[in-house]
């Protein structure tokens, strides 16, 4: 048992440039995360909080410029490697008072370097389940063909017949009924739930050590959602794969993961064991997490007028990031004694109990 985590992200920043607004969109702005082997990490947050972009950055799938501008992603495979190694040489970031003013990037070299780093990692060691399985799969090929392709590329099963047997095994494993028939179906011939299952089969078929699931249950019916969650749980128990699951549904996250990170405005606001984050086992909680939990439609969350608790305002505009705490404008627990500090200075991600970190001035000391 090695002590270093399977995946460790340090100060990851992924920016995009908005030509209309002549400014940088700071989608991911200094994210630190750790995933240990065998864990299931859940990442929650509203849309636009940078959950998906963080994971796409790790997979090296950000196509728009400037993309990843700093950070390190340490992956512990056979040896410990930095997936973003050497990219700094092709990037020149000018900063002023901690704000990025300009970015120069040698695109071709940068991309080549990244591809070299990702060789043998993407798809083989780290696999991904994409948000919309129907558009993530190639509509021109049967699902069987696509899974076989993946198996031949990433596993020792190189012969087509062998790979086909393996693909059928995985289709069976994810509980697609009559896999022999479905093998020849195109993605559009499958229902949403089945397509999601095929996608999971494809991701697992390369026998990856880390599985990233981006909103695996969004857009599915309640019954199917619960079945996909069951499936992921079962597969984790059987194969021991480490899972990072992204969702805006606290229910799914709470059920599947043992560690949770809450993101807002491109930063991690709270992270820790799910008992601490969701059930407040240590009595401490970030105001944002609290507000998110309260807005889930549930009977205890209903006010006397039959209102649901909502978080007022809109999700943070990551172009004009405030100087202070990013959540300050929507925060309900902000009070006079700390208000000034909240608006002028950003709180650090501080430890509040074992493994539980909160980015809020309420718990900073």
């Amino acid at each position: 048992m090695s002590t270093s985590p399977l995946l460790k992200i340090e100060n990851l920043r992924t920016y995009f440039y908005s030509r209309a607004k002549q400014a940088f969109i700071r989608s991911v702005d200094g994210v630190d995360l750790e995933v240990n082997k065998g864990d299931t990490l859940g990442i929650v947050g509203e849309s636009g909080s940078g959950k998906s972009v963080t994971m796409l950055s790790i997979m090296g799938l950000i196509a728009a410029r400037p993309g990843i501008i700093s950070g390190e992603v340490w992956y512990q495979g056979e040896k410990r490697i930095n997936l973003l190694d050497g990219l700094k040489d092709h990037l020149n970031v000018t900063e002023e008072n901690g704000r990025v003013m300009g970015i120069e990037k040698e695109d071709a070299q940068w991309q080549r370097r990244l591809e070299a780093n990702m060789e043998g990692i993407r798809g083989k060691e780290i696999a991904m389940i994409f948000q919309n399985p129907k558009s993530a799969m190639n509509p021109f090929f049967t699902i069987g063909h696509q899974i076989v392709e993946n198996i031949i590329k990433h596993t020792p099963y190189k012969a087509r017949e062998e790979a086909k047997d393996r693909a059928l095994y995985w289709l069976d494993r994810v509980k697609i009924d009559s896999p022999k028939l479905r093998f020849f179906n195109h993605p559009y011939g499958l229902s949403g739930g089945m397509c999601q299952r095929a996608m999971i089969a494809m991701a697992l078929s390369s026998e990856a050590k880390l599985l990233i699931a981006d909103e695996p249950t969004t857009g599915l019916d309640a019954t199917i959602q619960s079945r996909i969650a069951d499936l992921l749980e079962e597969l984790r128990e059987q194969t021991g794969v480490t899972i990072v699951i992204i969702s805006h549904d606290m229910g799914v996250i709470g059920r599947l993961s043992n560690k949770i990170a809450v993101m807002y405005g491109g930063r991690v606001m709270e992270s820790g064991p799910s008992a601490a984050v969701i059930d407040h086992s240590d009595g401490k909680s970030h105001p944002y997490t609290e507000a998110l939990l309260k807005s889930i439609p549930k009977e205890d969350n209903l006010s006397t007028q039959g209102h649901l608790n909502s978080i007022d305002g809109e999700v943070l505009d990551t172009i004009n990031v405030p100087k202070g705490c990013r959540f300050a404008t929507r925060c309900q627990r902000i009070n006079k004694s700390i208000e000034e500090r909240c608006k002028s200075e950003e709180p650090p991600l501080a430890d509040v109990s074992t493994g539980h970190k909160i980015r809020c001035w309420l718990y900073a000391d």
């Binding site: 309640a222 749980e233 059920r255 807005s295």
Partner: protein, 333 residues
């Protein structure tokens, strides 16, 4: 009890679809909505819930006459709208409105928000001059808590929650009394979803609206609706007070729907109830003989009782099983 503002009786919509290579010869009918009856009382929210493909949205569209039913009647305020021509129905359009599911498709991307809103007002209130239209527009914006400076924006420049508000404002611009809300929050985050739902609840009280609320989010349904109708493959299998249906379901399908939810909510992991036939769960088959209970192939009770002939041969009808609570099942729970 209030009077029913909308009364739907034995509504049917069958789509026909070509089958196989000789598709022009062999037509297969798909009974998307097959004998649906319900009432919506004034100032009430009726939730319509079911899996995708069960005919929820089609029912909504039929009520708005966006699609002509095969048979049945839809009585709105004492007038049957099914035999009406579109021209005759036009004045009624301002009374019955719809909030569409996909706002990216429902709002014209090349029109500014101001144009989108004023167009509707101008069409339905030809007598108003420009300044009166503007006043009405500002009123609407206030109603849905939207800033005035958004009027010059294009839909693509707004966030999901704001687009939803524009959609609601446009719906309200003609003073409707009955609104079909088709998955109004399906694409929104929980925090924004709560804002929109609160707005809808407030508007219902202020303006005395009635809603037909179509969704597959059961938790939301349970809280927002007064009564709930559960649909399965074109038929209503259970209808009753929201609390009653949620807490004491009588139909096995309702039971399974809600239990899948409770499993998800609970912190300790509880195994989902065993289904009779998991394989059948993903597939809908309309082509099989249209006899008997449509839920039977997936029904745990059907399997438990050793596949009784009654379920195979006779389609169950809605029977009362408590106050205002009806269920269509031969062996209700």
């Amino acid at each position: 009890m209030n009077d029913a503002i909308l009364k739907v009786t034995d509504l049917k919509k069958h789509f026909s679809q070509g089958k196989g290579v000789m598709s022009f010869l062999q037509k297969q009918t798909i009974p998307a909505v097959d004998g649906v009856s319900f009432e919506v009382n004034s100032q009430e929210t009726l939730g319509l819930v079911g899996e995708s493909g069960c005919g929820k949205t089609t029912t909504g569209k039929l009520i708005l006459k966006l699609s002509q039913p095969t048979s049945g009647s839809i009585v709105y305020d004492g007038i049957d709208i099914v035999p009406m021509t579109n021209r005759n129905f036009r004045p009624m359009r301002s009374k019955i409105q719809m909030i569409f599911q996909d706002l990216d498709a429902a709002l014209n991307p090349k029109m500014r928000i101001g144009q989108i809103l004023s167009e509707t007002i101008k069409i339905h209130h030809k007598e108003l001059d420009d300044s009166a239209v503007n006043t009405r527009m500002y009123e609407l914006l206030e109603m849905v808590n939207l800033k005035k400076n958004k009027l010059s924006n294009f839909p693509s420049e707004l966030s999901g929650g704001e687009k939803r508000r524009v959609g609601i404002a446009r719906t309200l611009s003609v003073n409707p009394k009955f609104i079909v809300a088709d998955e109004p929050t399906s694409a929104l985050d929980v925090s924004i979803q709560a804002q929109v739902i609160n707005l809808m609840v407030d508007l219902q009280k202020q303006l005395g609206l009635s809603y037909l609320f179509i969704t597959h989010d059961l938790r939301l349904m349970e809280l927002v609706s007064h009564r709930v109708a559960v649909m399965y493959l074109g038929r209503i299998v259970e209808i009753g007070g929201a609390k009653q249906v949620a807490k004491h379901p009588h139909h096995p399908y309702t039971e399974i729907l809600w239990s899948s939810l409770h499993v998800k909510q609970s912190k300790t992991i509880v195994k989902a109830p065993k289904l009779a036939n998991t394989a059948a769960w993903d597939v809908f088959d309309f082509s099989s003989e249209d006899q008997g209970c449509r839920f039977a192939p997936r029904c745990p009770i059907f399997a438990e009782k050793g596949q009784p002939d009654q379920c195979k041969q006779q389609a169950p009808t809605l029977k009362s099983c408590g106050e205002g609570h009806q269920v269509a099942c031969h062996f209700p729970l």
